[in-house]
Each structure stands twice: as C-alpha cells, then as structure tokens.
Amino acid sequence: MNLAVDMLIGAGLLVLAWQTISGRSLFRGIVLFVVFGLTMALAWARMGAPDLALAEAAIGAGVTGALMLVAFRRLVRIRPDQCAQPALRRSRLAVPVAVLAGGLVGVIGLAVVAVERDPALAGLAVTEALTDSGLGNPITGVLLLYRNLDTLLEVAVLLAAFLAARTVFGEDESRPPTPARREVPLVGALLAIIVPLTILIATHLLLAGSREPGGAFQAGAVLAASGVLLVLAGRLQPATALSAGPAFGLTLGLMLFSLVGLAVMAFGDPLLALPGLWAVYLIETAMMLSIAMTLVLLFAGASGLRRSGP
C-alpha cells in the first residue's frame, strides 16, 4: 500500500517532467513546472524529509515559478507573440544521450542502495552531538554548526545572483508607467488577512526550525511570498534607486553572520563557531530577512521598492 503511493507520486513526477519539457506552450510549461515542484514536495514528505518538502514547496515551486512567470511576462511585453516558439530541435543523439545519462544515475543510485552500509556515521554523530546543543532539528544543526561556511556562502551566492541579475538586466524599460488602476476590493481584504498571517507563519517556521522542520530558508521564502503579493497588488512599487532600507535588508544576513563568525575568533574559538543558541536565532532571523528581500527584489526586477502611497 505504501509502495503504491510512492509509485503513484513517482509516476506523476515523471509524467509532469515530460509534459513540462515537451509541451507546446511555454506558459503551460511554467504551470506544469510549478505542479512538478509541488509533487516533489509530496515526494520529500514521503521520503521522510519534511524540511525539504517545505523548502521545495516554498522555494522550488513557489519562488522559482513566480520568477519564471515574471520573466515570461517580460518576454511577452517585448514581443506579444510568444506562441511562435522556436521549434524543438531535432537531434539524433538526444535519445541515446538521455538514456545513457539516466542509466548512469540509476546505476550509481542502485549500487549505493545495494551496498551494505553502516548506518550513516555522520548522521549518527550529528544527532548525538546535537542533543546537547539545544537544536533538535538535525538539519538546522548540520547547516549552522557543521556546514556553517556552506550556509554563509549560500547567502552570499543568493546576493551575488541578485547583483549579477541587476547588472545584466539594467532597468526594465518595458515596464509600463505606474498603472493607475483601481485596486480590486477583494484584493485589499485578501492582503489584510494574508500578509499578517504570512509574517506569523514565517516567524513560526523560523523559531520552530531549531526543533521541528523549518528554518531560515523556508521562512524567508514564505515571507518573500507576501512581498511578491504586495508587488503584484501594486502596494509596493519597484524603484530604480537602491535606498537604505532594502540595501540594509539585502546584506543584513551576510554581514551579521560574518561579523558573529569573525567575532568568536577573538575569544579563541574557530572561525564561524557559533557561541550559543541565541546566536543561531539571531543569524537565522537576519538570514530570513535578507533572503526574503533578495527574492522579492529579484521578482520585482528592481533595485529597490517604494511604498505606493496616496
């Protein structure tokens, strides 16, 4: 019975992936890609990895889908006939190469599964070491205590991607002048409920992330979702100039993490050894804000945001 559910999800993933790349319409491809991401979240939950399920649903499906949709809209603005797609290329090598690549992955995976192993030594060590650190969620523990340099650089990569995208992209000239449209009445009501609720959920994910599934990345993506809603509803307008607030938000996580990581060296600890649970919470909060700000700005395709007020 359990295997049947897994098989259903696996088959769904394969069909969705195939439809995403082979469908005719690009827009449809984006929608299917989001559905693929959500099905991946189900698969993570089935594999016993709820942290990944949360991250996949929020980041893999949500944020990536939103970014793809907004890029597609920019393409449509430049030239409306995006239905006239470049045809799929014909390549005689495509099928054999794909079969070989997939086969390679399968053989590696099956070989690893078939090997008789000691039960995950690193994992066991982590779980034991974490019981006295106060971090009940081993994944948050691994990310912040053992692979802290990875996590620091991950935030740096996100920031670098934003800066690179800004540099390449320049100003979005295709954007129509600020729409003076009336806001749909229901949207105001939706925002009034959803935005505070999203902030609550993000805070919960952040705080719970030390014990249960959750963490700074999931929380940041959820927070970014409410920012994206505000941009879509026109409450926040893209601004050309980078003002102090967003700039601070963008760099906060990286700066605080580096500062704390360097400061502990003054006390004789190794680089990035976090001094306690309070530091974990502090850094995770800063990372959440930075991640949310970066993602919203990437979505808006702008260097800054301003409130559109009367």
Binding site: M47, I59, G103, G109, V142
Partner: protein, 103 residues
C-alpha cells in the same frame, strides 16, 4: 522493491528526461526547466540513496540538498535575467545559429 530503490529509479528517469529536454529545447526557458529537473533528480538521488537513520533519511545529505535548492533558485534567477536581456538585445530567446540574425 523498496521505496528507496523506487525513488532512485524515479531520479534516473527524471535525469534522463532533463538531459533529453536540455538537448532538444529551442527556447532558453525550456532549457531552464530541463536543468531544474536534472537538479531535482540529483537531489532525489542523494536523499533516496542515503542510509536511513531511525526511519528518516540521514540529516547530512538533507542539509546538502537544502543548500542545493537555494543555489538552484539563485542560478535560475540569474539565468532568467540573462535570457530576458538576450531577448531584448537580439530579439530571440534561443541559442540557435540563425543566418538572418533577425529572429
């Protein structure tokens, strides 16, 4: 068949589909779908093939995959910006060699 084996096979299938899509796709957005699917296949492989630890997969590969998901979205965001800019400048969103150069 165990569910770990099943997910390993799914990962293999996804990777094959991704490679196929990457080769045959004309539009850059489609190539991005394909690359993301390939990435997801590797994530599934890493988690499914890791030795379970009291019923749940090992935390270390999970943490690596979590990092990977964020890196994937960063790279996708940058690639999307490149694609839109390429389209703005050249009027085409594919890497085809086009003799006319106007579409």
């Amino acid at each position: 068949m165990s569910s770990a084996m099943l997910y390993v096979l799914v990962a293999a299938g996804l990777f094959g589909i991704g490679v196929y899509g990457l080769i045959i796709a004309g539009h850059l957005l489609r190539k991005l779908f394909a690359i993301n699917i390939m990435g997801n296949a590797i994530f599934v492989l890493m988690v499914a093939a890791s030795a379970p630890l009291d019923g749940r997969p090992d935390a270390v590969p999970q943490a690596l995959v979590l990092t990977g998901i964020v890196i994937a979205v960063s790279a996708t965001a940058f690639a999307l910006a490149l694609m839109v800019q390429l389209y703005r400048v050249t009027g085409q969103a594919s890497l085809e060699q086009d003799p006319d150069g106007d579409d």
